[in-house]
């Protein structure tokens, strides 16, 4: 009877069944907690995330070697069990239905694409490029690559293109994000060497973020800040009240592009007050006296007027820097993407040097990198620097690399490659006839890209090697080479804190798609230089070569035994020489005050601030600022737009933030459709009235394809990096 009653109750109120079972959790084993029973893995492995430079360890839940789910790795020293939404959703773009699955050849006349096999694609590729080389010389073909592929692939590409195929001009999209830091460090420290380790976030008393919004752009680095037990003072220098500015102790809402002036103002106060570390300056730097007298030419009131920050506030900040035992300075794209970016980065470096805030825990002049492997690109892509941070112009370096690669020294060009902007100019001038674009989306991301698209259409031959057929750049291509993506191949990334981490194949590439590595091997074969690359047989074999290339360099990694060594150590930061040990896996540079310059001294570098070439005027009265929209969007969205979850977390259409006072003046309400125009073009966006953007400024998130139609082709003279962050604009109701 009781049983019957229970049965009836169960029938009337069904507490279990297929729908309930669908969500049942079970202990996941493999160090996982409870996980969905239907996604139970038979193994797990850790690989580094392929989005940003934080370099988080992700734990792939595997079934028969294939990833069926992901979680953040609790043991990885970078992210300590956390990940941002992009990391959690890292597998989603691999399953997108616009993946390139076969080589595609587009007929120029009809615009129709035809699937072809690899053999035909690569024979065609080699024939066309060889023909152009014969007719127009080795400067007629260029490539634009990326900070998103593994180091071994970057090295292969740069070496194959320059030493194997005999071309010269090439650059990478790291020009758009990190060139400034690269040049600034190289000039100031003698080598491109971000000195810090993420533990410094946790060990600072005073953290100063300049043009950096880690809460949104690098959430896991911000996590490390929140774990700082010293109750730190956080100062944010940014024209907008960003999430990071909201969380800061002090926010300096500076006038757009007045950062260099403001930083000199802080330096001036520090010198005047004697709040500097004279012994450190004397023993470890050069050029301070010139810098100090240069600072005398500024008046504090002038700096206050330019930056919009009062002299009293500047003094207060200088005092905070002075009082901090451990002061760290952090910068990102707000600095790097400016018209005088290199000097701005160096103004930050100068502050760290003059106060002796470098080489100790919780200190440093620290550039937060953008892409997952921008650092790999900077050191090993064989583009701007030769493999391992060597100099193409140095005979000694050329000889070393020739010996290492067992090639003839004459195969190594002595000339530097053109930078990205120069390559685009070359295309426009008709000097570059063919372009090979690898894993980047220039037609979306480059400044003033209508101009770039016009140039690309003039090319004889545009090859795009990418995961997707639908990027704005792939849509212009004559030939698409289908590439395997992150998670479908092996190799290493180098993150912001110089940590080399492993990426593993945990998914099958769709169709005929091949890893970039394999594509380069095939090209070497079809080009006829396969023999030269016979040792480039696998990513790990190339890693061995790179270890050799790094030997004796500041970025020496010859002590790393193998991929397995990286894997079991939780990544290893460079330098790691054979005599080193990993007692502490959070290592920073310059503890001994010795820099990589010839005299081992860091240099004070500076220049008089100049106004940007384009500033608001009567016709275009507003500053147009651009930057990261949300933490669920990445760059040109070729991957983040492929996840249903991420798509829910950002606005589908472009929006423009404007200050309530400006909105009122223009009669604009939140939700109105408005037109934003600059001298280069216009776009339609939804108005979003917000007090977070200052009066006289508007902000556009960079992820929407129309945004960079508006940005100005202005470049830092030292790094060649475009100034995305500010130009003059006008808005009106659509």
């Amino acid at each position: 009877m009781k049983q019957l009653k229970e049965k009836v109750t169960r029938w009337i109120q069904q507490k279990d069944g297929p729908q309930t079972q669908d969500l049942v959790l079970r202990p996941g084993k493999f160090g996982l907690g409870q996980i969905p029973a239907r996604l139970e893995p038979d193994d797990t492995t850790t690989l580094i995330c392929g989005y940003c430079s934080t370099g988080c360890g992700l734990k792939a839940h595997l079934r028969k070697g294939e990833a069926i789910n992901l979680s953040a790795d609790p043991d990885y020293p970078v992210n300590l069990g956390m990940a941002c939404p992009k990391g959690w959703e890292a597998l989603a773009p691999l399953r997108a239905n616009d993946r390139a699955t076969t080589p595609l050849l587009r007929d120029k006349a009809s615009g129709r694409s035809e699937s072809i096999d690899w053999e035909r694609a690569l024979i065609l590729f080699c024939e066309r490029l060889k023909e152009l080389k014969r007719t127009y010389g080795p400067e007629s073909v260029a490539f634009l690559s990326t900070g998103q592929i593994v180091t071994e692939e970057m090295a292969f590409l740069g070496t194959l293109f320059k030493f194997g195929m005999g071309f010269l001009h090439c650059d990478s999209n790291t020009r758009q994000c990190m060139a400034t830091s690269h040049v600034a460090y190289k000039q100031s420290f003698g080598f491109d060497a971000p000195p810090y380790t993420y533990a410094d976030f946790e060990q600072s008393d005073v953290l100063i973020f300049v043009g950096s919004n880690p809460c949104i752009a690098h959430p896991i680095m911000w996590q490390r800040v929140t774990q700082n037990p010293r109750n730190p003072t956080i100062i944010v220098i940014d024209p907008r009240k960003t999430e990071t500015a909201m969380a800061a102790t002090v926010h300096l809402p500076i006038q757009p592009k007045s950062d260099l002036m403001l930083l000199y103002g802080l330096a001036k106060i520090l010198v005047e007050q004697g709040w500097i570390n004279r012994p450190y300056i004397r023993s470890h730097t050069e050029g301070f006296d010139q810098f100090a007298s240069f600072l005398e030419t500024f008046s504090l009131s002038g700096i206050a007027a330019t930056s919009g920050i009062s002299a009293a506030q500047l003094r207060r900040i200088a005092k905070l820097i002075h009082q901090g035992q451990r002061v760290s300075f952090w910068w990102t794209m707000g600095v790097n993407q400016g018209h005088e970016a290199t000097r701005t980065a160096q103004a930050i470096i100068n502050l760290a040097l003059m106060t002796g805030n470098i080489g100790r825990p919780g200190t440093g002049a620290n550039s937060i990198t953008g892409q997952c492997n921008a650092m790999g690109s900077r050191l090993f892509a064989n583009v701007t620097s030769m493999l391992g941070g060597h100099d193409f112009a140095s005979a000694k370096d050329r000889a070393k690399i020739a010996r290492l690669l067992q090639i003839d020294e004459s195969a190594i060009p002595t000339q530097h490659s053109w930078s990205y902007d120069r390559i685009i100019e070359g295309v426009k001038e008709g000097k570059i006839k063919a372009l090979w674009v690898i894993a980047t989306n220039s037609a979306h991301s480059w400044v003033n890209h209508d101009d770039l698209k016009r140039a690309f259409r003039k090319l004889d031959f545009l090859v795009v090697q990418d995961m997707f057929t639908t990027t704005e750049t792939a849509e212009l291509a004559d030939l698409i080479l289908p590439a395997a993506g992150w998670g479908e191949k092996d190799g290493t990334f180098i993150n912001s804190e110089r940590r080399i981490g492993l990426v593993k194949k945990v998914a099958r590439a769709p169709g005929l798609a091949l890893s970039d590595f394999k594509i380069f091997r095939l090209i070497a074969h079809y080009w006829g230089c396969g023999l030269q690359f016979s040792r480039w047989s696998s990513p790990e074999a190339v890693f061995e070569l790179l270890k050799g290339a790094s030997r004796g360099q500041p970025c020496d990694i010859s002590g790393i035994e193998s991929y397995a060594h990286l894997d079991r150590s939780g990544g290893i930061q460079w330098p790691y020489r054979p005599d080193e040990s990993l007692d502490n896996n959070e290592r920073r540079l310059f503890a001994n005050g010795k820099f990589f310059t010839s005299n081992q001294r860091a240099r004070f570098l500076f220049a008089k601030p100049v106004a940007p070439p384009e500033i608001p005027d009567a016709e275009f009265p507003l500053w147009l600022l651009s930057g990261r929209g949300t933490s669920s969007q990445w760059h040109t969205q070729s991957r983040t737009a492929k996840s249903d979850v991420l798509r829910k977390l950002y606005p589908e259409h472009p929006y423009v933030e404007l200050n309530p006072a400006d909105a009122k003046e223009l009669g604009i309400d939140s939700g109105d459709q408005i037109t934003v125009s600059t001298r280069r073009g216009s776009l339609s966006a939804l108005a979003f009235v917000a007090s977070t953007v200052g009066r006289g400024s508007i902000f556009l998130p960079m992820h929407y394809p129309e945004v960079n139609r508006l940005t100005a082709p202005v470049f830092d003279p030292h790094s060649g990096q475009p100034s995305y962050k500010a130009c003059a604009a006008r808005i009106e109701r659509a």
């Binding site: 294939e66 249903d644 007090s691």
Partner: protein, 532 residues
């Protein structure tokens, strides 16, 4: 060869780093974030969000998605944004939100099939997925947009505070994945929740008044949220789903009720007329009800579970409505059978039949009115301002009266003897219609032009997002008025067509009104994002 290699997946195996038996490592990051004991009587578990720590990375949303194995496009957590409007003191604050596991959960109270349970110990509001019939009433009653309907599954699902995890001392997915530890699970006393959700208290600015469901989530911050902070999506005019089957059901059941009321009224005033039309009237009532109820069953994600709908009678107006309509339909069916029985049926004494019909119609009319009242209560109970009783009752009963009078006119117009009655009914119906229409339009314009009016957003939708429909409505009122002027002025043969035209136009109007009723009902929700 390379292609074959590309397809192999041997790589990860070389790094068999994790032992199947290894300990769960994540736990060290959240030990402080979950309670170390069970709630006592008078207490329950609750989310607490430290706004100062939440910087909008949204990891909680995707971690919840991945660690709970949700469908590809399904999320149980959302992150919205509050934004300040004072140009001089910039302010922004992300708001992460999931189920608030309310003390007085509206989802649970409204559920017709007892598919919600409030755990007696933890206070977690759990949804019983296999019990759910997909009526989506909880989607309407929850003022925080928590239950998410899945077309694919035909049921709703929602956050269960990872009770499975908590039961094993593991933190919920969002708690363990928040990089800054902003989300914690706290033990709260029910008294403190009741105090914190007193009249006019809100979770954060722009959300629904907490006294309705008594949500337990606490948003805490050292910095007070400025007075002028608002959800950034507050000014967005968002159309709610129309629920077409429900529109059809409402229109048909209100028509049926109108007709039975008119017929019932005839039993008092004109029994001859009554006898002449009861056959067609009962058939029409029965057909409309059947179609309406069929439509409402079609609305269910899992229609086969509809039989459970009486289970929630104790708290759910949905259950009550379903039972009431069930009774209404039963009576209407009986009435039809009796009305259509041959006059000399063996079943009844012929003298009983008329009396039975008269009493039956009156009873059916009363049950019909009660059913419409229940139907109205379904919406009133959601506490949406647009569905408050001063809106819903005139709309629903207005439709009952209009369709009853005009429907009655249509039924009587065919009988020569009843033409006068028909004209009277039509005139009255027309008057009622115009009254209803003018009330709708004028009230709506009034609300539109009052800055602080509760219904301003709804009426903005009516006039700015449903502009075409607005024109159509005004045109149809003009048309009906014009046709009304023709009453008594047309040759007798045209009377039927006139009545029919007015009937069709007014029904069309009511259909449009019910569409508006749903799409401009402005569901309260937690702060959202910049744009959809």
């Amino acid at each position: 060869m390379l292609l074959g290699e590309q397809q192999e997946l041997p790589f990860a195996e070389r790094f068999a780093q994790t032992q199947a038996s290894s300990q769960f490592q994540q736990s060290r990051f959240y030990r402080e974030l979950i309670p170390d004991r069970q709630p006592n009587p008078g207490e329950q578990l609750a989310f607490q969000v430290n706004l100062d720590a939440c910087t909008g990375c949204k990891a909680c949303v995707s971690a919840c998605h991945s660690l709970n194995g949700l469908d590809e496009d399904e999320t149980w957590r959302d992150v919205g944004l509050l934004i300040g409007h004072d140009p001089e003191t910039p302010y922004q604050q992300h708001i992460t939100t999931a189920c608030h596991h309310c003390v007085d959960p509206a989802c649970l109270n409204g559920c017709p099939v007892l598919a919600y349970e409030k755990d007696p110990v933890t206070g977690i509001v759990r949804h019983l997925d296999d019990q759910c019939i997909g009526c989506q009433y909880c989607v309407l009653t929850c003022p925080y947009d928590v239950p998410k309907y899945s077309e694919k599954r035909g049921i709703v699902r929602k956050c269960d505070m990872c009770f499975n995890r908590l039961a094993r001392d593991e933190a919920p997915a969002c708690v363990q994945a928040c990089p800054s530890g902003a989300i914690t699970i706290q033990i709260v006393s029910l008294n403190s929740v009741v105090a914190a959700t007193a009249e006019n208290e809100r979770l954060v600015p722009g959300t629904f008044k907490s006294s309705y469901t008594r949500p337990t989530t606490a948003y805490v911050s050292r910095k007070p949220i400025p007075e002028n902070a608002r959800p950034i999506d507050q000014s967005r005019l968002r159309l709610e789903p129309p629920h077409w089957p429900l529109i059809v059901m409402l229109v048909l059941t209100q028509m049926a009720t109108g007709l039975v009321v008119t017929t019932g009224a005839l039993t008092f005033s004109d029994q001859t007329g009554f006898k002449m039309i009861i056959g067609s009237a009962s058939l029409a009532i029965c057909t409309m009800l059947a179609a309406g109820l069929a439509a409402s069953i079609l609305h269910l994600g899992r229609p086969l579970g509809a039989w459970r709908a009486w289970l929630g009678l104790r708290t759910s107006w949905m259950s009550r409505e379903i039972v009431a309509f069930g009774g209404f339909f039963g009576l209407a069916l009986a009435l039809t059978i009796v009305a259509w029985l041959p006059p000399r049926s063996a079943l009844f004494d012929p003298s009983v039949q008329p009396n039975l019909l008269i009493q039956g119609t009156r009873i059916t009319a009363v049950v019909g009115i009660l059913s419409i009242a229940c139907s109205a209560m379904i919406y009133i109970d959601t506490q949406r301002p647009f569905w408050a009783w001063p809106q819903v009752l005139p709309k629903f009963f207005g439709s009952v009266i209009v369709t009853g009078l005009i429907g009655g006119a249509l039924l009587t117009v065919c009988h020569k003897e009843l033409v006068v009655l028909s004209t009277r009914l039509l005139t009255a119906g027309l008057a009622a219609f115009l009254l209803l229409a003018v009330w709708e339009l004028v009230g709506s314009l009034y609300a539109l032009h009052r800055k602080q009016h509760l219904l301003r957003a709804a009426n903005k939708i009516i006039w700015f997002r449903l502009t075409h429909l607005a024109y159509l409505r005004i045109t149809s009122v003009a048309l009906v008025t014009a046709l009304g002027l023709l009453i008594n002025r047309l040759p007798a043969g045209f009377q039927f067509w006139l009545t029919l035209s007015i009937g069709i136009l007014s029904s069309g109007w009511i259909l449009g009104e019910r569409y508006i009723f749903f799409v401009s009902s402005v569901a309260p929700r937690m702060p959202g994002g910049v744009a959809p």
